[in-house]
Subunit: 241 residues, 2 copies
């Protein structure tokens, strides 16, 4: 399963969250990445206006959040539970980095529902909670200060999940129509003639200068309109000289 | 340039930030990923106790932050400036996705200092600010709700920068010493004998059962201690039968 359907099969589980602001931040982080299923295990305060404020435009994620009494209940019906853990522990299961875990989690949605579990802000997940999950996950972080904010950790994981489930596609190239080979060559020919005509360019030793000019304009990746502008400028300058 | 030295050549620039809490969140996000250089262009309120509170253990990043009067000043001495932009614009320069931009930014530290520029929470970067940067960067996000919190955007970019500059290395495998080939084979031999001895296993048709057992234990990647436990259990069961 891939795309938005994969993200729709992933639930974010926050256990024993102390600060309602972090619940709101998590909801916002989820929605920016296309996730919508939030499960709260015994939150200290929920619903809470502080959560609503931090959720900003993701208030619908909070409205649809399920509040449950135990992590077992939160994981009911899942085929995979990944547990975010900040510190290295004596684990029976090998931990995975966030990037690899997200790829596995997204792929596993083909088999059923998947959960990502985040512990309390101060104490993290208890050993009992961790034992209910199959894959411990770590975010690569500064060993001298690895204390990610809960909302930030949710943001990172949801980003990696989106990256794993939905290829972002072509870079968002926002410029105009690229110039064709012939258009660019037409410009180079025009430019060379103009340089010769102006006396700037010695046709007896043409190689080095044109190579530099090609290298420079090659990096820009000229657009059709830009070629038109440059040739118009050249024509104007030629008329003047 | 790579590793921590690369991250040390990257500055995070926040322009015209409205909420001091977001400055604190950015500082914390930076430090968790090993970045330390924060530059603030005309922040609405700084220093501010709200920023200090949100920075948590990253208060040193705030203490060393530079406050400047213009983006030009903030970018002084850089060889590359990447500008985070949430919306698609008519850009002269093609935008890059966060992942690719981080790879380019980390690589460019070999040539000098690099900046990542984040605009105001509501209005983003002005066209004038954007024009001072070479690479517009977009975070892949939910097209229906792409409104990342400023601190969350800084967290994502710093994470991608760390991933680009410092390979996280081997997955943090936290279990004990893996069992050797001979130890695992010794266990399989022991198990087979025990299965035959118990009548569970028909040695006239041994293939399929042992293959399934090998497949199962192969996935577990047994540790030395676990082999000891399993063989101890087998020995105990054999004594009983």
């Amino acid at each position: 399963m891939n795309g938005a359907a994969a993200l729709d099969r992933i639930r974010i589980v926050l256990t024993r969250t102390s600060h309602p602001g972090n619940i709101g931040a998590a909801a916002r982080a989820m929605k920016t990445m296309g996730l919508g299923h939030l499960v709260l295990v015994r939150p200290e305060s929920f619903p809470d206006p502080v959560a609503d404020a931090r959720a900003s435009g993701a208030i619908d994620v909070l409205e649809h959040a399920r509040v449950v009494g135990s992590l077992e209940e939160a994981l009911h019906g899942t085929v995979l539970a990944c547990a975010l853990t900040a510190r290295r522990r004596e684990l029976a299961t090998p931990a995975r980095w966030a990037h690899e875990a997200a790829i596995e989690a997204a792929a596993t949605t083909a088999a059923g529902e998947v959960a990502l579990v985040f512990g309390n802000e101060t104490s993290g997940l208890s050993n009992e909670e961790l034992a209910l999950c199959q894959v411990p996950v770590m975010v690569p972080a500064n060993p001298a200060y690895s204390s990610l904010n809960l909302g930030a950790a949710v943001q990172l994981m949801c980003y990696e999940l989106r990256m794993a489930a939905i290829a972002p596609g072509e870079a968002p190239y926002q410029s105009g129509q690229p110039a064709s080979f012939d258009e660019v060559e037409g410009f180079f020919g025009h430019l060379e003639q103009a340089m010769i005509g102006s006396g700037f360019h010695d046709p007896a030793n043409p190689r080095r200068l044109m190579a530099r000019i090609r290298r420079m304009f090659g990096r820009i990746r000229l657009e059709r309109e830009e070629v038109g502008i440059l040739r118009g400028l050249l024509a104007a300058l030629e008329r003047k000289t």
